[in-house]
Symmetry: none
Amino acid sequence: MSAPVRVLVVDDEPLTAAAHAQYVDRSPGFEAAATAVSGRTAVQAVQAARRAGRPVDLVLLDVSLPDMSGLDVARTLRARGETVDLLVITAHRDVATVRAASTLGVVGYLIKPFTYAVFEEKLEAYRRYRSALGAAGTMGQAEVDRAFAALGAPTRPDAPKGLSASTLESVTALMRGGEWLSAGEVAERSPLSRVTARRYLEHLAGRGLVQRRPRHGTPGRPELEYGWAGQDVSPGR
Amino acid sequence: MSAPVRVLVVDDEPLTAAAHAQYVDRSPGFEAAATAVSGRTAVQAVQAARRAGRPVDLVLLDVSLPDMSGLDVARTLRARGETVDLLVITAHRDVATVRAASTLGVVGYLIKPFTYAVFEEKLEAYRRYRSALGAAGTMGQAEVDRAFAALGAPTRPDAPKGLSASTLESVTALMRGGEWLSAGEVAERSPLSRVTARRYLEHLAGRGLVQRRPRHGTPGRPELEYGWAGQDVSPGR
DNA sequence: TCGTGTTGTGGTCATAATGGTCGTGACGCC
DNA sequence: GGCGTCACGACCATTATGACCACAACACGA
């Protein structure tokens, strides 16, 4: 198990900041390292944490701050070369702010108010993003795409046409076991048929929740095996 | 029908820049506005275009430039508040570069070499991103997610009939190591059989991505060894 | 020097075994 | 009772493997 992701919470409203920090601590693998109530203190907190040898990984950044815009905080951090990831949390819904945040390389944009489920989904997406980037020293196009796709995961865990929520959940639970399984093997370990199992696995793969890779070595067409993303890739067979 | 997206192509290799510009003009809704062969001229071109009232919408940005890194170009543009989108096009595959590009808010990251089909896919994703942003003055969480998701759309490497995309990528990754390997050696270092390895190597050789040469000196039929050719843009459809 | 044997891989064919899609059927909801 | 939805079975398409024959260069003897 790797060290938890250290999170700095920035919000001018102390109660809101505390609530967000609570959300963070509630999420396994994340810990609220500090909170800041202004843009200036936020920048200072990031720099201080890095100099102290315990750098911040992620900043939950409010846009409305008393001294400066959250976007300005982002620009300042970028200009100073701080390598932190930013998750914008704001009530601003205008296109200009969203676009500005996007060009500043934020890993997500959350519109207040939101439920914990939605928040957790964003943290989960960020976790996948990190794991996709941390996998290897060099990446192929597919790996790069997977990293970018992780951030694009929709907030709502909606089950599209043709899929049912309960079945999706059971397949997800099975895959969380960490084993690499083919569609046929998933079918064996669940009351589903291979075709149905494949539909759900493909759906999860499209969302970046599971990875696919061919299983070579035996005659015949290679078997596609699926593995839960968000953990390190096992060396395989 | 809205005005076409104006694109600036940046690459230190004039032939590559021309090829990319051709790709852009070939894509409906996009037009190559200019090309630049260095970081300094790229920044100047963006500023000049904006002042001339015909701003650049998108920059195809190479990382390896003679005077400065493409990432530095991005930082400069961001620092000067230019509101252009960036699509990184590079042979750099290390995580650090990918991560740096990501934090600079690029709309995509393409690893050279690539086919036109892959390139077009990225432009299409960017088009969806723009249309998601341009739809309304204010956005809900769903709209924001859709915009971010558009950029995360995976590029499917186009493999011809008989070859699978993921296998092709693994063979490509192995060959990028720079070593000269025979089909049998590739088979040893991958879960593939010699026959399969040969099929993919021959495919890459046909596209000019790897070179072939016989390995003399030992008894028996000479072994064909394959080496990475390191071209920029393959002549694929 | 030339011809022949030896060696080891190149390249092709048939086979294997799953992937993916289409149509059908059952279940639940309006 | 009709309709939409979701899952299943079966079929065809797809892609890897193993085996086989052919080929090309070296080695050696005449």
